[in-house]
């Protein structure tokens, strides 16, 4: 972890692979940066800026809205912004949100509820042979 100082803000920059939901700590901007093969400096800068904006927003510093509202138009470097601060890779987007009418649901939800909704659905990877009713039953004889 390295530290940068921008104005009065200290920013920790990690060389660990970035996470899809970075900077959970309140009032802390923690950003993971990974240099992809063939990546340009401008790409890295864009990723850094987006991650910083998300972290600041979650830490209580509202950011001017720059995200485009439609997930299908916001892909960059294989990742998708589902809601401000919620980033997933393209294959994960398809797995978790494919077949769900996100546009219609978003139009009927507050931004906060939409974010809480998309943050959690499908957050645990399962399997096609999974029976959610069977696995939710706690054996009655222990």
């Amino acid at each position: 972890m390295s530290n940068l100082t921008l104005g009065r803000l200290r920013i920790g920059v990690s060389l660990e692979p970035y996470d899809s939901d970075v900077g959970q700590g309140a009032a802390r901007a923690s950003i993971g940066v990974r240099l992809e093969s063939g990546e340009r400096l401008s790409d890295l800068s864009r990723r850094f800026t987006d991650a910083l904006r998300g972290s600041l927003e979650r830490s209580g510093f509202p950011q001017p809205q720059e995200f485009k509202p439609h997930p299908e138009r916001t892909g960059w470097l294989g990742a998708v912004v589902v809601a401000p601060g919620i980033l997933v890779r393209a294959h994960e987007f398809e797995e978790r949100y494919g077949g769900i009418d996100l546009g219609a649901l978003r139009s009927r939800m507050t931004p906060a509820i939409f974010k809480a909704f998309v943050r959690h659905i499908g957050s645990v990877p399962g399997r096609p042979d999974l029976d959610v009713d069977e696995i939710s039953a706690i054996p009655e004889v222990r």
Binding site: A112, S123, G126, D131, E140
Partner: protein, 189 residues
Amino acid sequence: MRYTAWAAGTSIDSPVYLDANVLVGATVSRHPLYTKAAQLIGELLASQARILVSLVAVEESVWALANISYCQLYRQPSDARFSQSIYNRCREEIFQKYGPRMQAIGLMLRDWSDAGVAVEVVPKTDADFLSVCDLTPRYMRDYKLTTADAAHLALAETHAASFVTADSDFQRVARQAPPDTLAVVHLVP
């Protein structure tokens, strides 16, 4: 009791009691019910329905996440036997590798509530609790339900207009039960 097989666009009367299999169904991806479960939850949040949850549902949900984690950790099929003794043996490894996911249901409910969704825990009052205590063994006997399923039904009957579940046993129960105001909303593939 009324029965409805849920499809996208089907309205669900509020307040809505959620079975554990629906909470798990929307949190865990890739299984046959996932897309429907997630869409259904989205519809409930969008319609500002009152969401009712119980400790029984949370306990079952956490058990399900432990079960899924065990199967993934030891490369078992999803229907592999998972018992209390297996859990006791594997608990440390499960939490070591998949600890954060064990919080998934609690975090989800907390985030919904923080975002303004009306999430309520049932039973709400001592009188409600005693009603659930009365109804649970009655439903175990009358409808041949497990303890937990009878408790879910009693909780829904006491507090909710709709009971959303992926358990097909409740289709049978809805046929047997006398008509009343509770709607069983069944999540089917």
